[in-house]
Structure formats: C-alpha cells, structure tokens
C-alpha cells in the first residue's frame, strides 16, 4: 500500500520541471481483456521519466459483431524505469471506465465497469514506437438488481494485454 502511495505521489508531482524535453505521442492500440477485445487510440505526454495521457476504445466483438457499442475511456500514467533512446520499459497505472447496454427491454439495462489496472510496459522505437503493456487489477461492475430493485456492485479481478503503435514528435 505504501509503495502504491509513493508511486502515485511521484506521478502527481511529475510536472514540476518545465524545462525538460516533452515528448508527445499519439497512436492506436488493440488490447485483450476478458470482456472483449478493445481497439482504440491514445495520446501520451512524456516528461523526464514520467508519462500520462488519455485513451479511448471500443469493444470490437460487442460493437462489430453484436451491433452494440461498447465504449471505454481511460487515463494512463507511467514511470520509465529504463529510458534509452530506442528502448523504454516501466510501470503503469490505468483507471478505466466502460459501459455496455446489455438489455434494451429493461428499464436499467446498462452495466457500468470501473477498473484500475497496475502493470508494466516495454516499448521499442524512436519515432514509430511499438509497445506491449499488461496490467491486472480490480473491476467494479455496477448494474441494476432485479430482486433488490436497486443498483448493486460486483467486485472481481480483471487483466489486459495490449499491443500499441504510436508516433512520437
């Protein structure tokens, strides 16, 4: 727990030095998650050894094969333990929100998912960067409960494995 707090504190204190070089990157990613295969895009801002940025995705199976849009947004913060010119590797934290309209006939047919992944990444390349990321963490699913006539929360554990490409400038 203490390690996690120190890690989060380091990330919060990231933008203290404005004189360091900032590297912007944008790209696309595909990630395997137990609930779907997510495809989307991301932005990252890297300053010194820290990076952060938003991502937006959609579940490919639900969206393309079941005509039910499964959107997901997240924000990634990371710390580069290895920070060479062509190879980087480090730790990441990624809170993610998603929702899925499961039952259209129901008054409350949505499922809401809130996840927090902790994991790592390894990246290769200078301008064109290819990265593998993976994470594990808790998932809180909220959905309407028939018997209780109210929203109920379900805590479980999820993971993801992701391949991404980004263009740095």
């Amino acid at each position: 727990m203490r390690t996690l707090l120190v890690f989060l504190l380091m990330i919060i204190l990231t933008p203290v030095s404005a004189q360091d070089t900032i590297v912007y990157s944008e790209g696309a990613q595909v990630s395997y998650h137990p609930y779907d295969i997510f495809i989307g895009g991301h932005l990252l801002i890297k300053k010194r050894r820290f990076e952060q940025g938003p991502l937006i995705e959609a579940g490919a199976i639900r969206t393309l094969f079941q005509a039910r849009i499964y959107p997901r947004i997240g924000y990634q913060v990371g710390y580069h333990i290895v920070d060479r010119s062509v190879f980087r590797a480090g730790l990441l934290a990624r809170p993610v929100l998603s929702l899925l309209h499961v039952n259209r006939d129901a008054k409350h047919g949505f499922s809401y998912f809130e996840e927090l992944f902790l994991g790592g990444f390894a990246e290769y390349g200078k301008t064109h960067r290819f990265r593998f990321s993976a994470g594990f963490g808790p998932c809180l699913e909220q959905k309407w409960s028939q018997p209780k006539s109210g929203f109920n929360s379900w805590l479980s554990w999820n993971y993801f494995g992701e391949l991404s490409w980004s263009h740095a400038f």
Partner: protein, 262 residues
Amino acid sequence: MRFSLLIVLALLAFSCRKKKYEDVKIIGHAGSGLVVTNAPYHDNSLESITYALETEGVSGVEIDIQCSESGTAWLFHDPQLGEATNGSGCINSSTDDYLSGLHYATTQKEALTRLKELDFPFDNQELFLDMRTYNECEAKNVDQQQTITAIANALNGVPSSQIIVITNRPEWIHNFYLMGWTVYFEVSEVGDYLTSSYKQETVGTCMRNSAVSAEDVQSVQSEGKKMMLFDARSPKGIRSVLKKHPDYFLADDIKATLIEKY
C-alpha cells in the same frame, strides 16, 4: 470521414433491429457461465449464481449437483476437486468438513457452495439441478437414493413441482418422477429422446446446440415437450440457438446472450 459515417449509420441500423426471441428463456449455465472468460466468478459459486439471478432478463440458473460422502448436496461441475479448487479427490469421496474448507483456485477464492445455501425458491426464477452421477475417484456410479435424499433435505419445504432436475441417466428418471420432480432427460441425439420409453415421465430434453436443428426443436415441441439447449458461446453460436426457438437456453456468456435476445 464519409466511410466512418457509413459505419456508424450501419451500426445504428443494426442496433434498431427488432429481435423476436421472447419465447426463449435465458438460464445462467452453472451460475453465470461455464468455461467462459468473461464470467466474473467461478461456475457454481454462490457469487456466480447471485450475479446471474440479479441480471435483468435471466429467467433462472442451472447448477451442477454432486453428493458428498456425508450425504450433502454440493454444487460442483468437475469430476475431481483438484481441477478447480485447492483440494483433491472427489466430492463423492469427501466429507462436508473437508469441503467446507475448500475454495476455487481463482483470484476471488470463492468458497464451494452447498445446495441448501441457495435462497430457493427464487422470485419468478427457476433452478435447474444437473445431476453429476459418476464418482471418478472410486470408478463407480453414485447412489441415486443418496442423491435424492440430499436434494430433498437441502430443499426441504420447496414444493416438489418446483424442483427441476436434468439427468443423462435414463434409469434415474423414474425415481425422480416418483418424487414429483420435473425431469429433463439429457441426450446426444433428438431421436434418442423421442423414441425413449422414459419420455412420458419427463417434461423435456436437454441437448448440445451443435447436435440440434430447428426442425428437431419443433419435433420435440410438437409432442408437448420442452427443449433446452446449451454450449454456444460466440455471438454467432448464440444467434444460432435463438433462431431455433428452444424453450430454454443455458447461456455461458450472459451479457452476449441478452444483447442478442434484446
């Protein structure tokens, strides 16, 4: 840009499609799914069953029943405990004390569940008991009378007509029938059911989706019997089940199934 707009319009058009599968009841297979990655909890766990029953659109759950050496009905699918838990051996050869200390080998570590722990009867939802009848540790069939006693004790006070069992053992059908229970006979081919002498003591049959055509479903239903299908996990497989219009579908991917139905 124009291409993206077309894709969005196509998705909206598909998403407005009216589906006509109201006659198919969705039942959570082994709770909220068996051998499926997107079930949040292990099959046959209390969490998995509650999760399914609290999902709008789910009409009930199917669970797997095995009888312990102590004569108690437990929920467990696999032949050996070591395949899914931190224990070893078989349910049939284990005491209640031993089983009470076990949990599934998952991150959540869900405990093994007794049948009597379920809050049954449910409100407007059904419970299907799938009988596991072979003791792999001792290489012998389990005793039906012991199983009947275990279920009757666990569901004490539940009207017999609300106890629904599924069995693939034809010689077990008659004794279940005598108990006043609702019996489904699981077979591998529809002809095995339609020509069975036990058919009159059952209300229907349970079959793997890949072995059944829409005509098979109709032939069973035309005799006043019900058809229950299972084993379809992909969106395409789930659609193929719904198009056959069985009375029940044992769904492994509950969310995907509800999306297809509604």
